[in-house]
């Protein structure tokens, strides 16, 4: 069933049928209803490809998901982010186009997306300091929103980000207030922008209190359970073992918890742990009272915000960059206590 068929059935021109369906004013209410009824009856829906060829808009948003070539790891926050963004797209009749590519091929992918005109805009994931994708997308002249930020001079692009620096500064201060002085930081890969900022916050709090941060207690790597375990395990064996951990993700924290219980310590009593919680739907931080004290910020929500911002930019007259900085909530759970 296509427009031609449908218009023949109705005894109307394609023009009229098209206008009726797209709610143009120059068609009488009577015919509009007749047309819509027929469309529903025959389960007609405009062919996307033809439609976007004619309009020049693809009604699709691209997400380029880089797979780290060394580690082959999918970012675990990805699913929830996508789910959030996807909701917004569905509501606005947009499709989501996913390209899963090795990180080394990202540039080529963006260029193709632009040349093939298959999307109206893209979301950039996992920015790094001085991220080359930002100038690239600007030069390709394709609307985009960055989830996170790329610290460099040029802040002239749209982003949605958590205030990572402040989150970790607060978390650190929270532990200081409880009397802890030997704090460990178990961070994500520090060539990622968010991890840099978190470390900055951690160090800033130390500086403000005049406490020396111990370099041996600051590590960073891919955010897996296994790394969390190994890092915590070896730190706990040290003479200058920490009395508290600040951990960049729930998944690493699960490893930390394993190391703690292997050491026959009790979290919250013998040792404190505070995490950043992305509020992943499949890893809720306990039910009633949080297992981990956490700086919490929903990545699902961030997905929604990014998507909405991008859709807004695409239709807006004013294409000037927009920024949304989210503050995480500091939620006290069972994993922290006095030193």
């Amino acid at each position: 069933m296509n427009l031609k068929n449908l218009s023949e059935i109705l005894g109307l021109s394609q023009t009229t049928v098209s206008r009726a369906l797209n709610d143009y004013p120059e068609v009488s209410e009577a015919t509009r209803e007749r047309v819509k009824a027929a469309a529903a009856k025959h389960n007609y829906r405009a062919n996307t490809r033809a439609k976007s060829l004619a309009t020049g808009r693809s009604m699709a948003i691209g997400h380029v998901i880089p797979i780290s070539t060394q580690h082959e790891i999918v970012n675990p926050i990805f699913a929830d982010f996508i789910a959030g963004a996807g909701e917004v797209y569905s509501r606005n009749q947009h499709d989501m186009l996913l390209s899963v590519v090795p990180d080394v091929e990202e540039e080529r992918t963006y260029r193709e997306l632009a040349a093939k005109a298959s999307v109206d805009g893209v979301i950039v994931h996992g920015p790094r300091p001085n991220d080359p994708r930002i100038p690239l997308l600007k030069s390709l002249n394709i609307p985009f929103v960055v989830h996170g930020r790329a610290s460099d001079g040029d802040t002239d692009y749209s982003w949605v980000d958590v205030n990572n620096r402040r989150s970790f500064e607060r978390a650190t201060n929270f532990l200081f207030d409880l009397g802890h002085r030997k704090l460990a930081l178990i961070n994500g890969l520090e060539f990622m922008d968010f991890a840099c900022r978190r470390k900055e916050g951690f160090l800033a709090a130390h500086a403000a209190r005049g406490v020396e941060a111990n370099p041996a207690l600051m590590v960073s790597d891919e955010m897996t359970e296994d790394f969390g375990f190994k890092a915590a395990h070896s730190m706990l064996a040290r003479a200058d073992a920490p009395t508290a951990f600040i951990v960049s993700s729930m998944i690493m924290a699960i490893g930390v918890r394993r190391a703690i219980s292997d050491a026959r310590l009790k979290m919250g009593r013998d040792i404190s742990v505070i995490i950043h919680d992305d509020a992943l739907s499949y890893l809720p931080n306990g039910a009633e009272i949080p297992i981990f004290t956490a700086t919490k910020s929903s990545v699902h929500e961030a997905g929604k915000l990014c998507a909405q911002m991008l859709l807004d930019i695409i239709v807006a007259e004013d294409k000037s960059p927009r920024h949304t900085q989210l503050e995480s909530e500091l939620m006290v759970g069972e994993s922290t206590g006095p030193a």
Copy 2:
């Protein structure tokens, strides 16, 4: 830059340029090279929409990701599955179209996908016994592959699935062989096909050994850490507490581990745990030797297989259904020991 421009620059017809780029034989090697060089120079790439309008093939595969309306949970295996499938699509110049929709709107979404002709095929996720999507997709006449199976009379569709029944039967027998008799099953929602089959395997092994399965030790729910914890916690408090747990996912198992360590028991010594491990990239089961004894089957691999199968079916003459049944590997880790 479009075909017209490019052909004008080259002083050739659009026909010739198109054929040169698409490796048709009726164009001389000399001009082909000239054309390809020019295309590269001007960063030309055929407009996807125009191309697929002309060819009738969209070169895109749809994935409809249902969000449970009650729980708003994204399936944690989703990211790895998508990553696997995405790799295959990229390699074959296909796009992946994702629709994230509330489960109640799934049918409408499939109908739209078909009517709008925006994909050449779809992958069906999370099948249930007697899944209505299968007859629907058949009637819409759109190629599809199911990840998993829907137990009912009609097996006349393509699927890729793990032998869940056998996996759990083996796991159960493994525990029996270690001398365990009081086994607990912590399963996913049993209106999902995979969970049904796992339970069947669990019960079949019991029946074969003449051991009575204790209904109080078989639970099923959304597969979260929290549910794993609560289930194990309450079971361990029982008079007829189990000596071993069979757990349907890594994430639930993490909760089980928490309950075990809270009870001051040691996994592998005081109590055994065997899990099903989907080999999620961000939740590896330990590094050298597995933390959990597990029936392991990579969902990333399953994603690749589903994608490849679907692409094959789309181009094949023979559209008859194909099946791939994967056997999981039983990997012995540190979480099991004699009763």
